[in-house]
Symmetry: C2
Subunit: 405 residues, 2 copies
């Protein structure tokens, strides 16, 4: 398969972009869906922000380096990659905090309804943020299995909150059909794009989405704990009010009034002072993904994951695939179930093949198409086959759980 | 005065610390209370985080570089500088977001009471975050002038939220007396230390404080939009529950359960994935302030501001001081009222003397004692006198307002 991989790499129109990332030697990195690789341009940009904008120009950079508009600028660059207009997206805070803002805004727009419906087994922070509002007496959390969601969608539902591509299995929702079904019941929809933004085509406005959030540190390569982004459809700009009404979301923050007046549009999603270092690093990652383009990334992602699956099949491996077998139905990942998934993951990491484990039994491989090669697929599949054949994952050192799994 | 300044600098035990900061040439920086200077060690530390921890070690750094404990580690380093125990402080999110968490926690601990009392003219974000909860129907905002606060403190008050050193005037509250008065009425107290942490002695536990938040980018020199910190007194660790219940505040985040169980202690204040770049930069600033020591910093700060005042007096300037004249009653700043404060501030900036303006008529000078010299005081006072005498602030270019003032 290695020969075949090399010829696929030779014909890959995105191959040249690998060198725009600092992919470490000796590593096959199948975890770009958890933390994206470092773009080569990032260290120099950060050095400039730190030494020149902060160190030399100090407080003046809020104006001279336009720090004050960085959340909007990064948001506007993400917008076309998720089917939004530039003024509908802003980069700030974390996914979790933005979820809280938008769930709250939706509840307020549907007085008389308290239910926020989500999927059981959705990414934890999504369902926890609903729970936070439930503890405040402001929401009622309803979780339903994927197959029963449409049935659970009734006229008590203020908001349907779903993750577009499931973090564990990679299953992708039909955004258009689900959004329509929710609207038919008078509910709003909030899409979590953490596992799709920057990797899959997302067309929020064409699908009539109301709200969305997404992650900066996965496929956008923004760095560890990078700021998140949030989308509010233009038609909701005047109605969407959120309770984290910090000074940076004020219409005139530097008037220092005692009373809060929300800024127009998505600017009102800002809360505290934006983290400039994180935003500056994120901008580099977003620029790079925008330069490559979502369609070519998605096309390569599907080819990578299919080639990986083929390599596994040719090794005679019989692992239980929990991701959809149709690449059009899944995100940029393949997940397998194995009762010793944790130890297998550790054994692979020891060999330089970095995937990740998701409790209790999922071995997850992410395919960040911007910097992965078909050669990596062949090699990763070979290592996985060897680890399973030799049972080297049975070693004690691979079974001890670290703080972060 | 310049001669006198130079001899004061020669005798200054903190003079040697100036070179630990990258203070730009040609600038007298009197705005460290808005954005602290860049520590010289920060760029190298950030480069290490970016190139090695992120670029080379990638996702493994959550364990190997202990990213997962960075919020707690930075919090524990801040703790002794504000009179707290290491496990009572955590660094994360923004001041605004942390205010929301702690106001909510306090309201929940005082069922039957809805009033959150604060000072009219407190820093806007503090009063706006109460307003956010008021809009949700969870709080009732009560603002009172400073002199009437104790009178406004009745048994409807769940929480008293005050800024220890006022952002505009620098007036410092008597933390012990106010906290006692609030407790006598059964109210909790949340102190915003944004303008005191890292500059003034703060002794949260000795004053019996309940909660506190503070800013990372002012006197702690953490960089633009650095993460904030939050304090919860140990006695409240089991009762304080906050609604921004994101996955990183879960007792076992990597169990990926559908149900939220708060982590013990201040760890439950975490919400989303912490911003590692911001936290890493902040740690360098906190380490440096800890090395210098709060007492020597405070002592020098008082001497600097007094010397600046003397220089102004000797110039024959008659500016209206709005800060307390007693240095023990004010933070590390001096603020003056002038109807043309904005233009004067701009004229000074054009001369390299960077203070700031606070709407509508306040000219504010902050004295970050870690890197300022007495010589800077003499020179800044001379420039201010010249600007006023020559009326150069009348020029048109100094009157046009920038986005950020």
């Amino acid at each position: 398969m290695l020969e075949r991989a090399k010829s696929l790499d030779a014909a890959d129109p995105l191959a040249k972009f690998r060198e725009r990332f600092d992919v470490p030697g000796g590593v096959i990195y199948l975890d770009g869906n958890s933390l994206g690789c470092l773009p080569r341009a990032t260290p120099a940009r950060l050095e400039q922000v730190v030494r020149e904008e902060w160190g030399r120009d100090l407080i003046r950079s809020w104006n001279s380096a336009d720090w004050i508009n960085l959340p909007q600028r990064v948001g506007a660059k993400i917008a076309p990659l998720i089917g939004a207009q530039p003024h509908e997206v802003i980069a700030c805070d974390s996914v979790s905090v933005n979820l809280y803002k938008l769930i709250s805004a939706a509840l307020r727009m549907r007085p008389g309804r308290k239910v926020v419906l989500s999927e059981a087994g959705n990414f934890p922070t999504d369902v926890y943020m609903i729970e936070g509002l439930e503890q405040q007496g402001l929401a009622e959390r309803r979780l339903s299995d994927r197959g029963d969601l449409l049935e659970a969608l009734d006229e008590d539902v203020a908001l349907l909150l779903l993750t577009h591509a499931h973090y564990k299995t990679g299953e992708v929702f039909d955004m258009e059909a689900i959004t329509r079904a929710a609207h038919d019941k008078g509910a709003l929809v909030l899409w979590d794009l953490s596992h799709s933004g920057g990797a899959l085509p997302v067309d929020l406005n064409a699908r009539n989405a109301d709200f969305a959030v997404g992650c900066g540190y996965k496929y956008f390569n923004g760095g560890p704990g990078a700021p998140a982004y949030a989308f509010v459809a233009e038609r909701h700009h005047s109605d969407a009010q959120q309770p984290l009404s910090g000074w940076m979301g004020h219409a005139t923050p530097f008037a220092f009034s005692d009373d809060y007046t929300p800024a127009p549009g998505v600017d009102r999603l800002l809360c505290g002072t934006p983290g400039i270092l994180g935003l500056a690093a994120m901008e580099v990652g977003v620029d790079l993904i925008a330069e490559i383009g979502i369609e070519p990334l998605h096309s390569k992602s599907q080819k990578l994951s299919e080639f990986f699956r083929q390599c596994l099949l040719e090794s005679g491996l019989d692992l239980e695939l929990v991701s959809p077998i149709d690449p059009a139905q899944r995100g940029s990942q393949l997940s397998f179930r194995h009762e010793d998934a944790y130890a297998i993951c550790q054994a692979l990491i020891a060999r330089g093949v970095i995937g990740d484990f998701r409790d209790p039994d999922i071995l997850r491989f992410g395919f960040a198409p911007a910097y992965l090669r078909f050669e990596d697929m062949a090699e990763a599949a070979r290592h996985l086959a060897e680890v399973l054949e030799t049972e080297e994952w049975q070693r004690k050192e691979f079974r001890e759980r670290a703080a972060v799994t």
